[in-house]
């Protein structure tokens, strides 16, 4: 009874941990088994019956499904998944922001009808504000902008290569070319600063304040 009740509980917890590697599940099981056994034995020494001691120890561990889910959510596997989704999400945001800044800048400067957004100033401003708000929410959530600098440099290199290959460099007057690049660079610097601000961790007392 004693043994089978504990193992049944551990089975129920382990069912929630199937995404973890086998060795990690086994390690958790052994650790919890030892802990539960120690708790049970301590109560038995105080005169509790074996059944009561086991049940009280299991209650102390809580509902097995909930415990399993919380263990999974706090595991290194879950942390890695959150980091990867953070990199991907933030990279997509930076890329789309850069494209939007470039197109709107070029359109505004040269009146090119390549993007409808850029031909109407209020629409362009609204679009950029919407993008910045989305970035602010994402930045607060992922708090991870490790590749932002690399992405911006790679983007500028690709943009320059694209402009040379399409002949835009030769077609534009030097002042227009320098002006366009200056505005793109200013836009990217501004977006980087906004991202840094929106993505910084909230401080004050959040790490120690009661969660409830």
């Amino acid at each position: 009874m004693h043994h089978s009740r504990l193992e049944g509980y551990l089975d129920a917890v382990e069912q929630q941990l199937t995404r973890l590697p086998g060795w990690e599940r086994e390690a958790w099981r052994e650790e919890a088994r030892q802990h539960l056994t120690a708790l049970t034995e301590a109560r038995e020494e105080l005169g509790w019956s074996s059944e009561e001691a086991v049940e009280a120890s299991l209650r102390q561990f809580g509902e097995p499904e909930r415990l399993g889910q919380e263990l999974l959510a706090c595991s290194s596997v879950a942390l890695q998944e959150r980091q990867i989704s953070g990199y991907v999400g933030w990279s997509l945001h930076v890329l789309s922001w850069n494209v939007a800044v470039t197109l709107i800048t070029m359109n505004a400067l040269l009146a090119l009808p390549t993007l409808e957004l850029g031909t109407s100033a209020p629409t362009a401003v609204l679009f950029l504000l919407g993008h910045a708000a989305g970035g602010a929410v994402l930045g607060r959530k992922v708090r991870n902008r490790r590749f932002q600098g690399v992405m911006n440099v790679a983007y500028l290199l690709l943009l320059g290569a694209g402009m040379m290959l399409t002949g835009l460099v030769d077609a534009w007057p030097a002042t227009t070319f320098l002006g366009a690049w200056g505005m793109v660079l200013a836009g990217l610097a501004l977006s980087g600063a906004a991202a840094s601000w929106t993505g910084r961790p909230a401080e004050r007392h959040e790490s120690v304040a009661p969660s409830g």
């Binding site: 802990h35 909930r66 595991s75 790490s207 009661p210």
Partner: protein, 116 residues
């Protein structure tokens, strides 16, 4: 949940780091040490202990090893890392500042106007 339980839940990682700062311990010993130090005012449910340990380990604040026992099976023992000690110092400062702020509110503050 009782108010004390709510307070405990948000601060479990800090309490674990504080206990481990004194030396490596296994999970059972961590829970009992928190109870002992708080004179049983804080009873840490094992259901919150292990998720907190996993999170601390995933963040690199705590490491664990399986220690071979002279008798009986190996036990998983946790130890605080250097970054864990730094994090504990930071959390301790924040907690003290938080307690001071709450105390100020509860007592009306140093410069509180006297009631008429």
């Amino acid at each position: 949940m009782k108010p004390m339980g709510e307070l405990l839940k948000g601060n479990t990682p800090t309490l674990i780091l504080a206990v481990l700062a004194e030396g490596p311990r296994h999970g059972y010993a961590i829970a009992r040490e928190i109870e002992r130090r708080s004179q049983d005012a804080l009873t840490l449910g094992e259901g919150s202990l292990y998720p907190a340990l996993r999170a601390l380990e995933a963040e690199g604040l705590v490491s664990s090893t399986w220690e071979v026992q002279a008798s009986g099976p190996s036990r998983r023992v946790y130890a605080v890392s250097e970054s864990g000690r730094a994090e504990l110092a930071k959390r301790t400062r924040s907690w003290r500042s938080f307690v001071r702020a709450v105390e100020e509110v509860l007592t009306g503050g140093e410069d509180a106007p006297q009631p008429a």
